[in-house]
Amino acid sequence: MKIVGITACPTGIAHTYMAQECLEQELKKRGFEYKIETQGSLGAENELDDDDVKDADVVILAVSIVIEGEDRFDGKPILRVPVDRAIKDTANLVDEAVLLTK
């Protein structure tokens, strides 16, 4: 299973990075492959390139603003949630993403 995603919040100061960390911890725990891009006050970091996206089984967008480059994921199953859910309800969120691959 390979999951990629993007996190982004209105001020781009804290939630973006917390959400990334929570997702990474959960995905690592499950032994999945993963890469999570952040779009925050520092600009885009850990950016997903074409290869990352091509191999992904599902995309998690934990975003509360309009993000850059969403067209990268055309044709992929996408789970879109508010950014704080990735922090407070990470395990259930990942369960839902996995269901989308079936």
Partner: protein, 154 residues
């Protein structure tokens, strides 16, 4: 980045308003903020958009404001825990208040905030903050993050 004078351990404050007022007063006296009323109202405006209690007993109120002259991050550990926002049931006892000037400029500051945000998602780090016996120990924990940034950033 983190100022030892802005690390407060085992305070008793019973509302979000009291917390903001307390820190705003301190940051005024230390020259981080030059308009306490504006700073509080902008931080509250952000809270009203979306409360900054993030689970795990933590809240991270913050704003980008003209009232902030120098970026700062204040840390408070409460003796009690308080009901942060009426819209949910979350109780909070660790609070990070973050102030960023309108023209933030410094990437280093933002880098610090992103690192501490990530760090807070680790249970072990939260435990250490909760168990720190005084503000010195808590300061050292928070300051380690500073140092690790200093090394990677040139």
């Amino acid at each position: 980045m983190i100022d030892k004078q802005l690390v407060f351990i085992d305070l008793e404050l019973n509302s979000r308003e009291m917390v903001l007022d307390y820190i705003a007063e301190k940051t005024m006296n230390l020259g981080y903020v030059d308009n306490k009323t504006l700073f509080i109202s902008e931080t509250m405006k952000r809270e009203e958009m979306l409360p900054t209690s993030i689970g795990y007993g933590i809240a991270i109120p913050h704003c980008r404001s003209l009232a902030v002259i120098k970026p700062f991050i204040a840390f408070l550990r409460l003796k009690n825990d308080l009901h942060w926002d009426e819209k949910n049931d979350e109780r909070v006892n660790l609070i990070f208040l973050i102030g960023t000037p309108e023209e933030s400029g410094s990437n280093l500051h933002l880098k610090y905030l992103s690192n501490i945000s990530r760090k807070l998602m680790h249970e072990e780090f939260r435990e250490k903050l909760r168990l720190s016996k005084d503000s010195e120990v808590a300061f050292n924990l928070l300051n380690q993050i500073n140092e690790s940034i200093g090394k990677t950033e040139i």
